[in-house]
Symmetry: C2
Subunit: 393 residues, 2 copies
Amino acid sequence: MKALDPPPRLLLGPGPSMVSPRVLAAMSRPLVGHLDPFFLGLLDRVQQGLRDLFGTGNPLTLPISGTGSAGMETCFVNLVEDGDEVVVGVNGVFGTRMCEVASRLGARVVRVEAEWGSIVEPAAVAEALSKCNKPVLVAVVPAETSTGAWQPIEEIAAAARDAGALVLVDTVTSLGGCPVEVDAWGIDAAYSGTQKCLSCPPGLAPVTFGERAVEKIRTRSSKPKSWYLDVGLIGAYFGNERVYHHTAPVSMIYALSEALAIIEEEGLEARHARHELNHRALMAGLAELGLEPAAAEGHRLWMLNSVRIPDGLDEAAVRRALLGDHGIEIGPGLGPLAGKVWRIGLMGESSRAANVRRLLLALAAEMGRAGVGEARAGAAVEAAEKVHAAASG
Amino acid sequence: MKALDPPPRLLLGPGPSMVSPRVLAAMSRPLVGHLDPFFLGLLDRVQQGLRDLFGTGNPLTLPISGTGSAGMETCFVNLVEDGDEVVVGVNGVFGTRMCEVASRLGARVVRVEAEWGSIVEPAAVAEALSKCNKPVLVAVVPAETSTGAWQPIEEIAAAARDAGALVLVDTVTSLGGCPVEVDAWGIDAAYSGTQKCLSCPPGLAPVTFGERAVEKIRTRSSKPKSWYLDVGLIGAYFGNERVYHHTAPVSMIYALSEALAIIEEEGLEARHARHELNHRALMAGLAELGLEPAAAEGHRLWMLNSVRIPDGLDEAAVRRALLGDHGIEIGPGLGPLAGKVWRIGLMGESSRAANVRRLLLALAAEMGRAGVGEARAGAAVEAAEKVHAAASG
């Protein structure tokens, strides 16, 4: 009978990020039907907002009714048939997951591996493509949430096109936080999630498919193995036909619509600049605490900051204290990076100067208490503030 | 910049149904992380609430991060492998959809057809099973949302077990509105949706898998073709291991948790009785308006009332007027029933005496305006009220 009462959290992990009260309010408005004229108009505006975000004119741009991983699966299940050769760049959890998703669907997967935290070299992708018979798809993750590595896309996309393959890109962590240019970069398909730099609750996966991808789908020799994620059928509901497919998640669409309105008001360029600035401030402060970036230099994400954990520190205890005593969530390492890095998200609403300051103070206190490194709270905050001051000066 | 402002609607279609302000409030609470101790505790309670609803002790009972159709796909993708024989009862849209989902996944589908609005006879299922080589699964829809037909399950389940097949049941429309007894009826797997008798927004699909189903999954010769819907992996997140799979839709879980609390407070028996009573009141009133039930006698759902549209009536114009002038949504017919029936949902929060009255008055007015039948508003409301009075007297 007690009302649901979640503890207040500052979400600085790999997602979900903080959600604006405006988005929460929109999500709690009474429902209308999924074929209500009001709702259909809202869908049109959401589709246009997503096109603006993706930097595309692709008509087939829409939110899938599932989380970011459903977006990944949607792209593979629509673009891949049994036996298709698929080249995947693997330098973290999400490249690894792509291989798993694609191979379950019958694809022949060619992995182009790189060390976790490093990038996948375009030359390595080109070499893998040259050894393929008839590569259908090249898939990469520009923002590896598991490592914090920022992977450039344009050269890989060009190599894929030269080989006659489609280009699929994971923009779960990048969309809304740093530039994503689907049309300009020659990307054929991309997917994202709502719970990172869009600062909307998790539950929807924006996807976009370009002309070449749509042509591949149109000329498939078999139906996609998933009915739920078949973008031909889903597109007929979002398109002019309005053919019933499944009941759209009405409240989540309300939330996404408001999140997109907030992004439009801020402007994409200003939003990206904000993510970059707070990233630099955080990194300057963390350096004072002796925490060094885990991703390769020149390839560090603004929205997901991975740092190496000093030797001898009980990292899980520090995270527990941050959550329990300071109400701050940060993320642990995954896979080979478990216990070795922290992942600090500054995504969407979470990317604020005050949050950087609050985290640095709490982290300095807990690291000091653990007796590892110096408790240089003052120096850390000062270093972060210097970055902010220089930007506004 | 304008706040999202959906028009007020009385949702009496096939879903979504009305959502309690308590559920909307819960859904709009600030987010916590998907591995936050608070959230993990909430997941445990949601799983137990779903077990109570399904009438099962199945450990593997959880909400899939997608809508009801994702629940259907989850069951097939986990239980079926290439070449598996699957027997499906088809007497409406959702049985038809099951065939499509199963065949895309490589199953050999045996359809047991019945007229839309009638039930699938247990003898016909038994006959189909007797002609199979090694049937793996029998799938049926106890509550066909497209026709309003109420399909008994127990005899079919017994026949399936005798043939060594698993029993899969679609409880999207039935769960929370009429008895569903997974354990007592020998059901091996079932799925549902949140937007019907649970009166939660669309976006989650409760599923449950019994011992025999889990054994089939454990002994598969190939991985399920979907990674996103793999209940082995999802179960490891919901179970004690808490292994990260995908970011759970936090706000939707808040909503489901509150919806389950409301159901528990009302009590399942009282809730079912309410659905039955309002169904009888509505049908009595509709009869006065000359609207006769479309589903076969003795097999009419309480929560989804399909009625035949009188000859000569422009049914789409009446629905438009109901929505535009009265703020009431009812559903059209689908497939072969398009233009021939209306589907009136009295699900969850929508199943209230006042809603029955409001719909009868509006419908009488619009049918009278269209000049078809008599505008017997007074008689219709009186007939409905007599049913309610008899129940409380």
